[in-house]
Symmetry: C2
Subunit: 424 residues, 2 copies
Amino acid sequence: MNRFSFTLLSADPRSRARAGRLVTPHGVIDTPNFVFCATKGAIKGLSMEATRRAGAGVILANTYHLMLRPGAETVARLGGLHRMTGWPGPLLTDSGGYQVFSMQGAGDELQGKGQKARPNTVRDISEDGVRFRSYLDGGEHLLTPESSMRIQRALGADLVMAFDECTALHHSHDYTARSLSRTHRWALRCLEEQERLERQRRDMGDAAPHPQALYGIIQGGVFRDLREEAAQFIASRPFFGTAFGGCYGKTKDDLYEMLEWAAPYLSGSENAAGSKGSEGSKGSQRVLDPPGPRPRPVHLLGVGDIDDIFRGVRCGVDTFDCVQPTRLGRHGFALMPGQKGGRLNLRNARHAQDTTPLDPENHHPPTAGFARGYIHHLIKSEELLGIQILVEHNVAVMTRLMREIRAAIPEGGLDALEKRWIAA
Amino acid sequence: MNRFSFTLLSADPRSRARAGRLVTPHGVIDTPNFVFCATKGAIKGLSMEATRRAGAGVILANTYHLMLRPGAETVARLGGLHRMTGWPGPLLTDSGGYQVFSMQGAGDELQGKGQKARPNTVRDISEDGVRFRSYLDGGEHLLTPESSMRIQRALGADLVMAFDECTALHHSHDYTARSLSRTHRWALRCLEEQERLERQRRDMGDAAPHPQALYGIIQGGVFRDLREEAAQFIASRPFFGTAFGGCYGKTKDDLYEMLEWAAPYLSGSENAAGSKGSEGSKGSQRVLDPPGPRPRPVHLLGVGDIDDIFRGVRCGVDTFDCVQPTRLGRHGFALMPGQKGGRLNLRNARHAQDTTPLDPENHHPPTAGFARGYIHHLIKSEELLGIQILVEHNVAVMTRLMREIRAAIPEGGLDALEKRWIAA
């Protein structure tokens, strides 16, 4: 029995945007959707219960952080991520690859923000894998395609990612090409290890944990030929899903150009099942039955601004993840469509006596009714409750955005919706 | 219409302990009960909703903190504490007196822990009131009996406290006696100002806020004659309730000796209505109708260890407040009756792999099921969720304690209950 499936339900007549249904052992992810970050096994400032009631359908935890603390074995002993955290729904883990590189300061550069002077924690990248130092205690660790898969099996997510090298903006075409070849050899080792783990799992009979589904990751830096090569490679191998990651260039436009390069291959197979699937649909609500190979869910790694969501959805992205909504909340910002910049800084003194409710339209009653002046006071007083309220509000805003996007796609209403969400 | 009342329901045949029903405009406080501290208008780490579901019946906010930030006028503009925080139930504010003195380091000394070297923020104590510097910005403020009452009116609690001076352990009998006389003159000014505010309120007709009920506070330091004098004085004046505060001596035993000195007067009037009330009751569940003046609710300020609760209840205390349950949670401790010390340090490495649920007896399902190893991980990783879980757990433990105490009183079961709660 295959406990994973991805079905396209409708498509935007004017773009690659599509609405779908991603079935996992822990429930359905309606797509497009947003994946909230529970980096270390907790959404910062929000209980899983509140995360759920704010409408979240899927969350992510980070292999890199969890392998270092509390350790994958401990998570397994505590019953795996679902049981440990109490999150009942679909769950995704990354491979650890991105963070091995970003935690040494390449993260900002990966996103085109220049290089920061952080200690070099990557000791060695070889055919085998990456040797790096822990950000916690400096201890040395090795992450390989095989160990990443085994760790992700121990963590117990539904959706897992292949192990990759994230090249940075300063890397040459030559280095990026050699890195990409190795990332593809790693991808094949991930598939192989996952197949082995899956056989092992099936042999466990009734004691077997739930199965997992693997995403391949498209790398290739800012180079068109490499991104195309990567997209074709991942599409031609039996991954369940496709993720897009790595260095997104210097500007937001760069990312969408890259996504266009990869678009024909994103949804699986060289025959571009996803785009075929949408051709025959034109706004229909019926379940599409694409003539090519089955469509693949497409995940865009680490992107979550509201304008990015609209652009990504139009490029055929089905899921997004980003720390932005929760991080903004921790720093006193409420996502506020229609406002300048799409957010409100509750720390600003002009809210000190502000009796306006956080959300006058009352979309999410558990947080909507608090006066902005009260939240301002909580933030200024460093009361945790201020963070709790803003993080829950921001999660609710993002889930509402994704709901409205899903509803707009079959009606060709994305442009109108975008205008309502993003002030000129 | 009097929207406040206090009715004795039953009494312990073997002590002054009694169970009662304290009616306020925002609902009933079943007594004995515990008042959780929302110092700056928020329980640290816990939403009001979660506070409620953990069984809390009444909370407290601090006049001193709120008058400095965000300011009483701002709280009033935001609709008062109930509306601002979303707490629907009974609410209490202190007078600011205690903190004016404790924030300059006398707090520890007030509790018999020796004097700490903190800057002297009290500028001047006069007949008028206390001039002090803000702990936030050094700005000078004056708190008088009248301004304390007006600030507490603006904050909008149900139960309010008279303004007092908290003398410290090092103060002589002579100083304490002079201070006490002044505190009593302040108490009369509080009564007068409260009566004036009440008349003003009634003149407002339909726009009037809810009424407030005033507690007098028994001071007098560690001196028997002064504590008795204070208890008699407060009992002989028309306060709604009696609070016991100030310096509690060097050891816990000192406090209970003091409470015994005051006991005949605690529940109002020199005729000791409270103790008369319990004489005729002997474990009965029927509503008592004491022959003397109406009984007064008795509040013990700033006390909240579990052993203290049992001792205080036996002295006739109806309500307690303390930051302890929430503070312990923030520092990684779970209240755990039956454990050594009555608490569990989840930060301890022995919980790193601990699969035991936080509360194997599952008294409070929203927090009981988390593995101790997970909470250990959250605390070590400085995830806010660790605090959220432990604070909610601790609030639930305290409300359960108070429920069980209320049930034990009419059955004379306090001793047996205490044995179950406190390990030898």
